[in-house]
């Protein structure tokens, strides 16, 4: 048993960190990038692909160079550390996972993604879905050999600038059925797209379809399984991302406590604040540990895998909120300003809890997979 990264992975981590560091100078421009017309930086995205950050997310079975829990953890911790707005989650994790869990997928499709020549988005959440896994109202209408989608996906990360959209739609059963839905691919050009920014400075879109021609990727139990794999892959990647952001918050706060003076001494010399910093530190270490456990069992049987990812997402949700709230409070007024970078990390930490199931949702899932 050991917890060290292999030499190879250390190198991956270092080269990615360097690239991200250069690009996101002072980590200050993620709002600008995501508010730009394109919504992401194409050149940078290409560079990420070139140093292997995308193929690190794909298993060798599909022509990738990674795809293990550890690879995903490394990449997404860095994404959290640098507040990267490029579509790693939507194209790199959600779309790739749903594609690789579909039938007869061609490796060339994945190559397009990993080479950054195509961007995919994944649409599942509808306006009322909240975190219900199979609450799908978008309709799939089969006519002869073709299928057409009608409905609305409200919270599609990077859904505006993606080339292709993968989404869930229902062809039978009631709105909650685990059966009777499929995963489909549709072309961006066939959707009514409304683009918006999220409160934490990322990019998403609401997509409307009306009898839009689609391509079936899988359906029924295959679709259910692929959907679960996708949602859990997303929850796992977000958990790792959260760790990166927590660490930045902690470091910024520690630095501030050492330099900011009140009543003639650094505020970090006040015992009440020190003790709260230790509480924060403990929860960050706990969250890290939970993510490591999920990473280590990412290829295990599904019950174990899902249980540990739900544990991680639950803990990361709780810890992320604690870190966000305590780091703001320990800073005081300056943390309330737009100018000071902390709020961007705090927002990301909290909003991660709004994606792919919040801490309450994953607590229930943990119970489910632990046979409570």
């Amino acid at each position: 048993m050991h917890f060290n990264l292999s030499e190879e992975r250390k190198m991956l981590k270092e080269s990615c960190d360097r690239l991200l560091n250069d690009h996101y100078t002072q980590y200050k421009n993620h709002h600008e990038v995501s508010r730009s017309e394109t919504g992401f930086n194409k050149k940078f995205w290409k560079e990420c692909s070139e140093i292997g950050m995308l193929s690190a997310l794909i298993s060798p079975n599909f022509n990738g160079l990674g795809g293990t829990g550890e690879d995903i953890m490394i990449v997404f911790e860095l994404i959290g550390k640098h507040l990267v707005v490029e579509p790693f989650l939507s194209s790199g994790i959600l779309s790739i996972t749903s594609l690789t869990n579909s039938k007869d997928i061609e490796t060339s499709v994945l190559d397009e993604i990993s080479s950054a020549s195509k961007i995919y988005a994944f649409g599942h959440s509808e306006v009322d879905t909240r975190y219900d896994e199979t609450y799908i109202k978008t309709k799939a209408n089969y006519k002869n050999d073709a299928v057409f989608l009608t409905g609305q996906k409200s919270f599609v990360l990077n859904g505006d600038f993606a080339d292709k959209l993968i989404c869930t739609a229902r062809f039978s059963g009631n709105d909650f059925d685990q059966n009777g839905f499929g995963i489909y691919e549709i072309d961006k050009t066939h959707c009514d797209i409304r683009s918006y920014n999220t409160i934490d400075g990322y990019r998403a879109a609401e997509l409307k379809f009306s009898e839009t021609p689609a391509k079936e990727l899988c359906k029924n139990s295959d679709a259910y399984n692929a959907l679960l794999e996708t949602l859990y892959a997303g929850a796992f990647a977000l958990s790792a991302e959260s760790i990166g952001a927590m660490q930045v918050c902690f470091n910024m706060t520690l630095e501030y406590l050492k330099t900011r003076e009140q009543f003639g001494k650094p505020i970090g010399s006040f015992q009440a604040l020190q003790h709260r910093m230790v509480d924060v530190m403990i929860e960050i270490e706990q969250a890290k540990s939970a993510v490591m456990l999920a990473a280590g069992t990412y290829k295990a049987d599904k019950d174990t895998k899902y249980k540990n990812i739900s544990a991680a997402k639950n803990l990361v949700g709780r810890a992320g909120k604690l870190v966000a709230e305590e780091c703001i409070q320990l800073h005081g007024g300056i943390a309330m300003t737009w100018e000071y970078n902390l709020h961007n990390y705090a927002k990301r930490l909290v909003m991660i809890d709004h994606l792919m199931g919040d801490s309450d949702h994953h607590l229930e899932k943990f119970k489910l997979y632990s046979n409570y």
Partner: protein, 398 residues
């Protein structure tokens, strides 16, 4: 012990309600309820109406044009204006400067300034905090140098709420640096359009402009504008800070926020059932509601003890702390309730008259933003940590 409002108090409440329903414009209360941005006119429209009715200076004695209301009446009034969706009554002139003027100002100052506050002729800003001294007033650096019949003021103030609308600012300044820091502070009343003053916006983490920095460079301030005595400002500043804090717990705001939360939790579904029926989520709401009910009584106890003449200093600090926790937890549950609907941020939604379709229900729009900005509640006006220090010092005598 008697928990019931008297007949008179109930009639008083009805009178407030009736007046509000006729005099608070639908336009403004709509903006407030939708968390839209208020401009100077919005505030003034409501305050002028109150002033005309004689209800603006809630905390002032009648001799100065105040209401002369009991603490219980003030509490009822506060509840009703929050319920009605009124904008808040801007407190800097009315509740901060006013009482200090009455206690320590000279006759001319009282005669000149008090009516102007009452008539909304002046919009005062607060010049307490400085970049280096958040909670530590004794360390302030803005200096006023004696120059005959006037001072020359240099320095910087910060966290000046709604300073962009103000024409006046009251400032704590150092007039003597050779003594204990507390002894060298004076309290100046300054025109904000004096040459050398610049008000610069501070954009807060919600992207909004409500607070400001105020830069003072060689600003000439006549000695007539000194409040009370030179170097006694510390006393006035403390008087201002401890005076009138019955509303500090924010009970009416939390009440309406929890009601809002329950409405949303009825409209939001989880596994096919209203979220309010979810055992875990509803327990979080219920615990909060229990805490709030208790705090409401705690607050009334403090009000009632103030009525009988005891200054509720310790209670104020405890209520400020608990009040901030409850408001923040409510905003936390509000954002949690709506799940992914918390994600979209459409800044235009918070402009008056915006009527496009939202992503998700309209109520979802402000909730995440609110959660983040409400972090300030435990920071401003003496952070919760400072409040705890105060209680430890005064009550525990440690």
């Amino acid at each position: 012990m008697d928990f019931n409002f008297t007949q008179d108090e109930n009639e008083f409440r009805q009178e407030i309600k009736d007046w509000l329903s006729e005099n608070l414009s639908q336009r403004i209360s709509n903006k407030v309820k939708k968390f839209q941005r208020l401009d100077k006119n919005d505030y003034e429209e409501f305050m002028k109406a109150l002033s005309a009715k004689g209800w603006l200076a809630v905390n002032w004695p009648e001799e100065h044009g105040g209401t002369g209301w009991s603490n219980t009446q003030k509490h009822i009034f506060e509840e009703e204006i929050v319920k009605a969706g009124a904008p808040r009554i801007v407190p800097f002139g009315l509740n901060m400067l006013g009482p200090v003027l009455m206690e320590f100002g000279n006759e001319e100052q009282k005669k000149y300034y008090l009516p102007r506050i009452l008539n909304c002729d002046d919009w005062w800003a607060q010049g307490y905090s400085e970049p280096g001294s958040g909670s530590d007033l004794a360390s302030l650096k803005t200096k006023a140098i004696d120059n005959g019949d006037h001072y020359i003021v240099n320095g910087q103030k910060t966290w000046t709420t709604l300073g962009q609308f103000a024409n006046k600012i009251f400032c704590l300044v150092k007039t003597d640096t050779d003594c204990k820091p507390q002894n060298g502070i004076s309290f100046l009343l300054i025109d904000i359009d004096s040459p050398g003053i610049e008000v610069r916006p501070i954009i807060t983490l919600d992207g909004e402009h409500e607070v400001n920095e105020v830069w003072l460079k060689d600003v000439k301030v006549s000695k007539e504008n000194l409040l009370g005595e030179e170097n006694k400002g510390w006393t006035y500043a403390k008087y201002l800070l401890t005076h009138e804090r019955t509303g500090i717990a924010g009970v009416p705001n939390s009440k309406s926020a929890i009601n809002h939360l329950k409405v949303i939790a009825r409209k939001t579904y989880k596994n096919g059932k209203p979220l309010i029926q979810d055992p875990l989520f509803s327990s979080q709401i219920a615990e909060l509601e229990i805490d709030l009910k208790a705090m409401e009584i705690f607050n009334l106890r403090a009000i009632s003890s103030a009525e009988s003449g005891k200054a509720p200093v310790m209670e104020s600090s405890l209520l400020k702390i608990k009040g901030s926790i409850i408001r923040q937890k409510t905003s936390d549950l509000l954002r949690k309730a709506i799940g992914p609907q918390a994600l979209p941020y459409i800044s235009e939604q918070f402009d008056e008259g915006w009527n496009q379709e939202t992503i998700g229900p309209e109520y979802a729009g402000p909730l995440a933003k609110q959660y983040f900005i409400y972090r300030k509640i435990s920071i401003y006006g003496g952070s919760n940590e400072i409040q705890k220090n105060i209680v430890a010092k005064s009550e525990f005598r440690m």
